[in-house]
């Protein structure tokens, strides 16, 4: 008799436990309907289940760092010392228009978004690229 009560007690504890936990750590299947309202994009709490629809909340520094790393590895950049947050692709880094297209395409891949031609043509500097990425909700 004692043998059967123990597992039952344990099961009871397991099922009742999530009720007292933070909503963020709840199993996703049980409350997926309500989860989107509970997790705010600015939440810094630990998140056990990743919500792919939620905004990744990229920071300015992170975006800039990733773009700069990308340019650092780009073989056409002549003077890496001129690389900073304000660098202009053509004036500072010596890239021609074809190279600029390549850089913008690489940024697309890095943040898994697609930049339409018209907006891609308007990106000529790191600052413009960072601003564009920050304005995209689905960039991550």
């Amino acid at each position: 008799m004692f043998r059967t009560t123990l597992p039952r007690l344990a099961r009871h504890l397991v099922y009742s436990a999530p009720r007292y936990q933070a909503p963020i750590a709840r199993p996703i299947a049980r409350s997926s309907l309500f989860q989107s309202t509970r997790i705010t994009p600015t939440s810094t709490a630990f998140q056990a289940a990743r919500c792919y629809s939620a905004s990744a909340g990229l920071s300015h520094e992170e975006v800039q760092g990733r773009i700069m790393d990308l340019l650092k590895n780009f073989d056409k950049v002549q003077d890496v010392s001129k690389l900073n947050g304000e660098s202009h692709f053509h004036n500072d880094l010596g890239l021609d228009s074809l190279d600029t297209v390549e850089v913008v395409m690489a940024i697309e891949e890095e943040f898994s978004i697609e930049i339409p031609d018209k907006e891609a043509d308007a990106i000529h500097s790191i600052k413009q690229a960072v601003d564009y990425i920050l304005a995209q909700p689905d960039a991550h």
Partner: protein, 80 residues
Amino acid sequence: MAKISGLQREVLSLYRQCLRACRKKPADTRLNFYNHTRSEFHRNSSINKKDFGTIEYLIRSGRKKLETYEDPGIRNIANL
């Protein structure tokens, strides 16, 4: 950078299309496609921008070539 002309925009748009097509190629040979695309475009980058006839011809032949190479049956390209 100076404002780009319509013809230049067309070239850049074709370049973008080509690079997008490269992404659809198998991962192990993708770099060959990238290198080929880059060298083809950079090879002619010194053409005078007033030489409309040549540029228009190159755009046309570039589009034809893209159509040919876009075929998923083409899985590798010579990397010279």
